[in-house]
């Protein structure tokens, strides 16, 4: 048993869990800030981002050291590679939370209007995706990660619906354009958070199963079969 290496892996895992907790908290605070028009929560999101960034650097440094000094293999190698990518996604989740907080700070300076968009429902779905992607990492459960991937389409649809109704609102009630634009940007930020949660889930599947499920791109053999099929279809025409 390589005790020092195992300690390094455990430390890496703990640091990622801390960063994950901070990122999850940032998204929830940003959503709460939007729904409650709460500037104090915005401030907390801005302060929390610094901690997420510190975590990102610490995780990268430790992962780099382990790769250089311990030459990990197989599951250990996939674990470290997955962590470096999840690390990057969590840092971006923190950035999106800051973007939402900045929108709220802009929005609070304007009169409150009732917009026909359910940001609360969307933020609940996105927060659940972030939480479940982190749970799939904690429990090394590819099935849970797979469920996160399927939720991404739901959030994409919510973003598209928000876009349609908010553009219509801007046309019908031009006096609410800035508020509608803020809501539109928040919806887009939330959809980006969902994309990062999806990336995290894909990285968990890669770590646990050794399978690359990104972009729905077929693997070598499947790609060749698809190319051959396309070729024969072309010839048939």
């Amino acid at each position: 048993m390589r005790t020092r290496f195992q300690q390094g892996l455990d430390e890496l895992r703990q640091k990622l869990l801390r960063q994950g907790g901070l990122a999850e908290q940032a998204v929830e605070r940003a959503c709460r800030a939007y729904l409650d028009r709460d500037l104090s929560k915005c401030q907390m999101v801005l302060e929390g981002e610094t901690l997420i960034n510190i975590c990102e650097r610490e995780i990268d440094e430790l992962a780099f050291d382990l790769l250089a000094m311990q030459q990990p293999m197989a599951g250990d190698l996939r674990f470290i590679l997955a962590i470096t990518k999840i690390n990057s996604d969590l840092e971006r989740v923190g950035d999106q939370a800051v973007n939402i907080a900045e929108r709220v700070m802009d929005m609070v300076a304007l009169p409150a209007v009732d917009l026909p968009v359910d940001i609360a429902r969307m933020s609940a779905a996105v927060s659940a995706m972030v939480r479940r992607s982190l749970e799939s990492f904690i429990d090394a459960k590819a099935e849970l990660a797979q469920a996160v991937l399927e939720m991404d389409n739901v959030v994409d649809r919510m973003r598209d619906e928000a876009f349609i109704v908010l553009v219509k609102t801007m046309n019908d009630h031009p006096e609410t354009t800035r508020q509608a634009l803020d809501a539109l940007l928040v919806a887009r930020n939330l959809e980006r958070v969902a994309d990062h949660a999806t990336n995290i889930a894909e990285d968990v599947i890669f770590w646990v199963r050794g399978a690359d499920v990104r972009h729905n791109v077929p693997r070598d053999g499947e790609a060749q079969a698809a190319a051959a099929e396309a070729q024969s279809a072309t010839e048939a025409h």
Binding site: M1, R2, A74, G75, R78
Partner: protein, 252 residues
């Protein structure tokens, strides 16, 4: 050119102790195959069965089929002739200490009755060039002994000696374990070049080395072949948990 190696139902014993159990393995021609596993797992015994060195140990016994290309290694060929087709390089460089560099390389040819001096000169030069040693020793191949070279040079001299009889297969039993990183790098580069002409089987305890030089890797444990697959599969996503545990350092 190298030839493929097919092994079926190979069992080997030292006295009453069975060292290999039903090994089945196909090694592709002109590729490098690495064999890994903890000490005593049978990987060295396995390659010693390929060139029939195992049976030279008192009390040792082999059963099963080994085909080197179309040739049945255990039927219709003498061990001496077989070993001309299968060169071997050992863990510790073992040049003939009193012979010159030239005579070390030519030793196998002379033993086989070769006496055309001009052709022998060409073969010695070609073998030393193939083992990436010619440029370093060409000015004193008759004057200096094999033992006067550095450890890394001695190992390349042993490779040249093995190549001189133009084998089809080169067996390497931990060829870099006694060498520094620079010499190890040279041998690994050499393996990379040699596999265009020879089939290479390398036993190594250095898993990074297996990952660097071999297209295929086999994992041995307690005399059995646990897993055999493409090297990238073995080192990134092995199928058997015992392979995973070994290569990640959780046992062995």
């Amino acid at each position: 050119m190298g030839v493929g190696i097919q092994v079926e139902n190979l069992n080997a014993w030292y006295g009453s102790t069975q060292a290999l159990h039903d090994i089945r393995l196909n090694m592709e021609a002109n590729h490098a195959t690495a064999l890994i596993g903890p000490s005593g797992c049978g990987k060295s015994t396995f390659i010693r069965c390929l060139n029939r060195m195992h049976e030279t140990t008192p009390g040792a016994r082999v059963e099963g089929n080994v085909k080197i290309g179309q040739l049945d290694a255990y039927d219709g060929i003498s061990p001496t002739l077989l070993r001309r087709r299968i060169g071997m390089v050992f863990q510790k460089p073992n040049p003939f200490p009193t012979m010159s560099i030239y005579d070390n390389v030519a030793a196998g040819l002379k033993l086989n009755g070769y006496n055309n001096r001009k052709e022998m000169d060409q073969i010695v030069e070609r073998s030393l060039a193939s083992s990436a040693l010619w440029d370093e020793v060409k000015d004193f191949i008759h004057k200096k002994s094999g033992a006067s070279l550095s450890g890394g040079q001695q190992q390349r001299l042993c490779i040249a000696r093995a190549l001189a009889v133009e084998p089809e297969v080169l067996l390497m039993d931990e060829p870099c374990s006694a060498l520094d990183p620079i010499s190890t790098g040279k041998i690994e580069e050499l393996i990379f070049q040699l596999k265009t002409q020879y089939t290479i089987v390398i036993v190594t305890h250095n898993m990074q080395q297996a990952a660097r030089v071999a297209e295929y890797t086999g994992f041995f444990l307690l005399g059995r072949m646990v897993e055999f697959d493409k090297t990238e599969k073995i080192f990134t996503n092995p199928s058997d948990k015992r392979t995973e545990d070994y290569i990640t350092g959780r046992f062995g």
